[in-house]
Subunit: 109 residues, 2 copies
Amino acid sequence: MTLSDTFYVGPGRADLMELIAETGSISEAARRMGMSYKRAWGLVQALNDGFGAPLVETARGGKEQGASLTEAGREVLERYRGMQEATRKAIARDFEALQALHIDMSIRK
Amino acid sequence: MTLSDTFYVGPGRADLMELIAETGSISEAARRMGMSYKRAWGLVQALNDGFGAPLVETARGGKEQGASLTEAGREVLERYRGMQEATRKAIARDFEALQALHIDMSIRK
């Protein structure tokens, strides 16, 4: 979902935010997603800079002390999940019809 | 929208199918999309092979004599457009709320 030239959230970014909220740690969230800390940190920066306000905040003091979502971060994540669910419901009938046609055609092939 | 491991339709493929239906020509559709004939032809092949039945058919006889959507092609395009519209409606409220928050945050920055 693209909000502007500077801000985008997709499934990967949403999962990262969710795991940061769950684990309280960027490095643990990165580990669970099978990505490097460097990549996760880059995504956090992209989220924070792109949105114009922090979505993820880290406790200060040299080494990472823990991370969490800000109020804006929680709202972005919650609305993104809501949009995913609303989309799934909205397309379910057409999706199933196309899938049936696709399978049907493949069998006839 | 991914139907299976072999079949995917996105905005570009949908636009190409729509322009083939409108113009009756793969080369004219390609021209209007600013892509090469070779690329458009490759996409048509991917659509036809991936779906398991032709979505786009071309008149036979050496040089391209014209192209059109098959019945399955029209159904795929129509349902894809329906899904796009349903998605737009389903996410409108959350999308606007996030955009307002995004703009608001950017101003405060």
